[in-house]
């Protein structure tokens, strides 16, 4: 079946004429039709756009102007502005918002000729770890419909796991690519902060937000990251450095690789089945020639409180633009300007978004700035310095992505702090701005579990090399839930 192929295989078959991009794209659209009513992984499906882009891609292929990804369809998280297409960020606030321009990532993939299947569901404004806070209702985990797919890029992870798209874009502010990748048994990489342009990505917390690919395999992610990354003058924090070829190191041996395993990551709170899966995966790396050394990240417990001060503080500023005046939701019959602002925001935002705006504004307010915001920024440096020190003794750090496999829908939605704490392994990486990968490593309680591989700045090619080598000797990344095979 077409949806079981790797990206490289798809590309080759498109080139040799075994099938066309229109046929491939239609195959995915048919599967979306068949399965997505139940999964709710797409907010918007764009069949006409997809087919017209596929027709153009077929012309490019026929003319010999194709790149490796030309003709391969993609799903964009509904946080990426897509010209002429509803871009809702899964919020009532933007339910009527037709983006007037393309995000840089969308433009880059369009230029290559990757047909857009649609926009994927997510936590509202990317604020969440379960995709339950979407205005359009929760996405289900393809492995178990009672479970969440993770978040905030839960829709993107679900469409890859269920074979409703071969590639998807995601964003990761506190773990939003890696945790859903872990929960849905797919591969996802958060690149170094600044490696992929944020232009046209609806901002949540600008000093953390970073986009990346979500795919079946590390090899697929490497190809997609090649297409997404690069300097963009329109993003003021875009890195001005040459973009490497992220596929260049895929085949390199892991012999001599030094893996740091932080003792702190295997303490209280980590599910024992998840711990076993992660330890088995690390043992597999040793069989491939890697060596394990113990490292320490002593300030890891400070990362969650620090992040939940800084990210909401940035959000309270970023989301002040939603005022009911220039675009988005406006309340009915406002009596005066303040009523317009207040009711538009109160009716347009969901509960978790309002909560984070309020907490963030409070942390920045007079009298609390030093105790909360400044203190959190200092802790951010301490967390970052822990990583830098650890990388003196190892090449990469490995551990769990999340303390448990996917939890049930509704299980944590009333307990924010418990939900926040479940991001304890992913958040430190965002504070430090480092790249990190999640690869499928097994199952716990019949739900997928990912292995978290964190590297120094700009080590994406190394991380993908490790993921790829692991996937040469394991088959977790090829597994699909029975009903979607």
């Amino acid at each position: 079946m077409m949806h079981n192929l790797t990206i490289k295989q798809m590309s080759e078959k498109l080139r040799t004429g075994e099938f066309t991009s229109v046929q491939l794209t239609q195959h995915y659209l048919d599967r979306i039709d068949e399965f997505d009513t139940e999964l709710n992984a797409y907010v918007t499906v764009t069949p006409e756009l997809a087919i017209s882009m596929a027709e153009e891609a077929d012309k490019k292929i026929a003319a010999g102007e194709a790149e490796l990804l030309t003709g391969i369809p993609v799903a964009h998280k509904d946080i990426f502005c897509t010209d002429g297409v509803k871009t809702s960020c899964a919020s009532k606030m933007l339910d009527n918002f037709i983006a007037p321009y393309d995000a840089n990532v969308v433009a880059l993939l369009k230029k290559i000729g990757m047909p857009i299947l649609g926009k994927t569901n997510m936590d509202e404004f990317a604020m969440g770890s379960s995709s339950e806070s979407s205005y359009y209702g929760p996405t289900k985990n393809p492995w178990d419909h009672k479970a969440v797919p993770g978040g905030s890029s839960g829709g993107a992870a679900a469409v890859i796991a269920a074979g409703l798209a071969p590639m998807a874009t995601g964003t990761d502010t506190g773990g939003s690519i890696r945790q859903p990748a872990s929960f849905c048994g797919i591969t996802g990489i958060k690149p170094t902060y600044g490696a992929v342009s944020r232009f046209g990505i609806i901002a949540y917390a600008s000093s953390f937000d970073q986009a990346g690919p979500m795919t079946r395999s590390a090899e697929d992610s490497a190809w997609m990251l090649n297409a997404m990354a690069g300097f963009d003058a329109r993003d003021s924090t875009s890195l001005e450095r040459e973009t490497p070829d992220y596929t260049a190191e895929l085949e390199r041996s892991l012999k001599g690789l030094k893996i740091g395993v932080p003792a702190e990551y295997f303490g209280v709170g980590l599910d024992s089945d998840v711990s076993d899966v992660v330890k088995t995966a690390i043992a597999e790396m040793e069989k491939l020639g890697a060596k394990v050394v113990e490292v320490h990240l002593p300030n890891k417990d400070l990362a969650v409180p620090s992040y939940y001060v800084l990210a909401p503080a940035e959000a309270s500023s970023n989301l002040s633009r939603f005022d009911g005046v220039r675009f988005g939701y406006r309340c009915e019959k406002p009596t005066d300007l303040e009523d317009l602002y207040k009711r538009s925001r109160s009716e347009g935002f969901g509960e978790e978004v309002k909560r984070r705006i309020m907490v963030g504004a409070y942390a920045l307010s007079a009298g609390y700035y030093d105790a909360y915001y400044l203190k959190a920024q200092k802790l951010r440096r301490m967390v970052r310095d822990d990583f830098i020190k650890a990388f003196n003794d190892c090449d990469v750090i490995m551990g769990p992505v999340a303390p448990t496999p996917a939890f049930n829908i509704g299980e944590k939605s009333d307990d924010q702090v418990s939900m926040y704490l479940s991001d304890l392994y992913t958040i430190p990486v965002n504070l430090a701005g480092l790249p990190a990968l999640s690869v499928p490593a097994g199952f716990a309680q019949d739900r997928p579990v990912g292995l978290h591989i964190v590297g120094p700045y700009f080590s994406e090619a190394k991380l993908l090399n490790i993921g790829h080598q692991f996937q040469q000797v394991t088959d977790w990344h090829t597994k699909m839930p029975a009903q979607y095979q």
Binding site: A233, S236, N299, D301, K354, R355, M358, V359, K375, L431
Partner: protein, 95 residues
């Protein structure tokens, strides 16, 4: 730290987010739970630690002071809740 009605009303004003009278208690409780999480930061010794704003300690990039935006007001105002003659319309502010 526990928030009360006064603080919730203050935050409501700061954020322009309405909190209805009957919801104040619930909002105060949820925000207080989050502030309890923040309290974990207090114990950490941050003396001599500089605050960090950017992971790579990068500084803001400057660009030449030239016009880069083209006039797209028709396209951009097409998605506005209410606009006319290149203006955004809001309820009358001055009588």
């Amino acid at each position: 730290m526990s928030l009360g009605k006064t603080e919730v009303e203050y935050i409501s004003r700061l954020t322009q987010i309405e909190v209805r009278e009957e919801a104040v208690e619930g909002v105060a409780e949820k925000l207080s739970n989050i502030l309890e999480l923040f309290a974990q930061m207090e114990a950490a010794d941050t003396k001599d630690v500089l605050p960090m704003a950017h992971p790579l300690d990068a500084v803001q990039r400057l660009r030449p002071d030239v016009v880069t935006e083209v006039d797209q007001h028709k396209k951009l105002q097409a998605i506005a809740p209410a606009a006319a003659d290149a203006h955004y319309l809001v309820p009358q502010v001055i009588e």
